[in-house]
């Protein structure tokens, strides 16, 4: 197979056996990026020159006899809402078009200590708000499997570039499904860790009680290896959990005999494509063949998850995005004569439609007279949703569902009606509300050759069960599809 389609662990083996140099790896990925050209628009910025020079340094380290650690010399794309020191971090927004962070996100420091190679900053929905990557100031991202279709969002760039061979893996962020849904639509693996396992320091905040950084990779093994690097306590993030970090790679065992799997019926109902359902049921059958006990389960409060999410996420966003006022960084309208006029015009001109819509919804839900009916009510229902999951995990080790109700939809198809777009995240949103770990793995292709994703959800801090099941099912499914791009 082409070098640009190998996994990080395959490349590591080749580096160890001196079958390839890091410079060759980086060059082949950039060759692929040039070959793909502007057909996907998955990057907002490339870092070719620094990537090649770092590759040369890594090659020197290797020839000097340095141990080759996971992701050493591996080309990785980073979503453009994760701060990279001295490299623009735009959140795909006009308001941050020229913003150059003066510090690294903690995850970037951790990857740098492993001598990773940054390919570039990946495109996304503006401020991570969207499910199709059509809300980018820098233009929509296309799906590598069919360029008339969306790659999903908001981490559309990170998913598309891994699927198309424009990076070996990538980092995304997930607030309501923004890693898992695009991973599903692009046929790659995407993981959202337990809330608090990965430091949010340096991740431009959207909804702080829901946001979590995670990897997008070509297989579950790379995913586990990436979790080993990015998970762990960080004193710079007050919501970081201080627990011992396990060796996630130790959970890569194809043995799930006796595992109890729940299938939430609320995530298998109306609106789910027939082919998506069939793929999930096929996988369930595989799990049963491997000795798992599978049962349907009801989590009644999930019916309200979408509403709870849009109230809470928009409320938190309206508060978080108040920092973009044209004073300290970001776009400023230079004609404004007074301070408030400057705030308003900078924000009106700097933010795109969807971001403004969510700021408006959030401001409304938090405003006097409506706070109790919307925001506080949503927080109470959130408690019920968490309770339903808690009860489910008393009986089951993992829960299984589709990741996305449909395969990739057409560009423009859902842009007219925000609410239809929001429904794309119906299966992923409940997981963020409860802070749970969940993965999306490819479960096959539809009749029209579009990837279908399977979601595996674990209890809080039970990444072990999620990874074990994902690794076993990945082997059983045997998905090897690549886009014909």
């Amino acid at each position: 197979m082409e070098i640009h389609y190998l996994t990080a662990h395959q490349l590591k083996d080749m580096l160890e056996k001196r079958q390839i140099s890091c410079t060759e790896i980086v060059k082949s990925v950039y060759l692929r990026i040039e070959e793909v050209g502007d057909r996907l628009n998955s990057y907002v910025r490339l870092e070719k020159e620094s990537a090649l020079s770092r590759a040369g340094e890594v090659d020197k380290l290797i020839s000097a006899g340095s141990d080759i650690e996971d992701f050493m010399g591996i080309p990785i794309a980073v979503k453009d809402n994760i701060c990279t020191k001295n490299i623009t971090t735009t959140c795909a927004s006009r308001i941050l078009e020229n913003y150059i962070p003066i510090y690294n996100a903690t995850v970037i420091d951790r990857l740098e200590s492993r001598n990773y190679i940054l390919t570039g900053k990946a495109n996304m929905d503006e401020f991570a708000m969207g499910s199709s990557n059509e809300n980018s100031y820098f233009g929509a991202v296309k799906n590598p499997w069919d360029t008339d279709r969306v790659p999903g969002g908001s981490s559309g760039g990170p998913a598309a570039c891994v699927a198309a061979g424009e990076a070996v893996c990538s980092l995304g962020s997930d607030t309501g499904g923004s890693i898992r849904q695009p991973a599903s639509l692009c046929g790659v693996v995407g993981f959202k860790p337990t809330y608090g396992m990965v430091s949010r320091y340096g991740l431009v905040a959207f909804a702080s009680s829901l946001d979590q950084i995670g990897p997008l990779t070509r297989d579950v093994e790379d995913c586990a290896a990436m979790l080993n690097i990015i998970c762990g306590y960080d004193r710079k993030d007050s919501t970081s959990i201080n627990v011992e970090v396990p060796d996630y790679k130790s959970f890569l065992k194809a043995d799930i005999k006796g595992m109890k799997i729940g299938v939430p019926k609320e995530l298998m109902v109306e609106g789910i494509d027939r082919e998506v359902k069939e793929a999930v049921y096929r996988t369930i059958k595989l799990a049963e063949d491997m000795g798992c006990i599978v049962e349907e389960i009801s989590l009644p409060s999930l019916e309200y998850a979408l509403s709870v999410y849009y109230i809470i996420a928009s409320s938190e966003a309206s508060s978080n995005l108040s920092r973009f006022d044209g004073v300290r960084y970001g776009y400023r309208n230079m004609e404004a004569r007074t301070l408030r006029e400057m705030y308003r015009r900078s924000r009106a001109e700097g933010f795109g439609d969807e971001v403004k819509r969510r700021i408006m919804i959030g401001t409304y839900c938090l405003s006097a007279g409506y706070y109790d009916a919307y925001y506080e009510k949503a927080q109470r229902v959130r408690t019920l949703i968490m309770g339903d999951f808690k009860k489910a995990f008393e009986k089951f080790d993992i829960l299984i569902s589709p990741t996305s109700p449909t395969t990739a939809f057409k560009i423009g198809e859902k842009m007219k009606d925000p609410l239809t777009m929001y429904l794309s995240d119906i299966c992923t949103i409940p997981v963020n509300l409860a802070g749970l770990p969940a993965i999306s793995i490819p479960a096959g292709l539809s009749g029209s050759k579009l990837p279908i994703g399977l979601q595996i959800i674990g209890n809080v801090l039970r990444e072990d069960n999620v990874l074990k099941a994902a690794y076993s099912l990945e082997k059983a499914i045997g998905f090897t599809g690549k886009p014909g791009l």
Partner: protein, 95 residues
């Protein structure tokens, strides 16, 4: 729940420090109305005796020793400033 008027939306825009053209107000009013109408189904849930969750983790205030550490320099803090004067951020006059 009550319907939302254009004046409501203008008021919210003011609170959010945003502005919309008359044409856009029309559009966003109907979109907000439709979204709020959908999310209002939470009102039908019985939450008597249920406490609100603001955060999934059972975390308390995080304290640290009050020790001086290296911090951002003035120069780097001003690096992204749209306008500056006398080592500070410069803004239009406060009305």
């Amino acid at each position: 729940m009550e319907s939302i008027s254009k004046d409501n939306v203008k008021h919210i825009a003011e609170l959010a420090e945003l502005e919309f053209s008359e044409k856009d107000i029309e559009k966003i009013t109907s979109q907000i109305e439709r979204i709020l109408d959908h999310v209002a189904n939470v009102s039908s849930v019985n939450t008597e005796g249920i406490l609100p969750t603001s955060h999934v983790l059972n975390i308390k205030n995080v304290f640290r020793e009050d020790m001086a550490e290296e911090s951002v320099t003035q120069e780097s803090a001003l690096k992204n400033a749209p306008d500056e004067a006398n080592d500070g951020f410069k803004v239009p006059k406060i009305d």
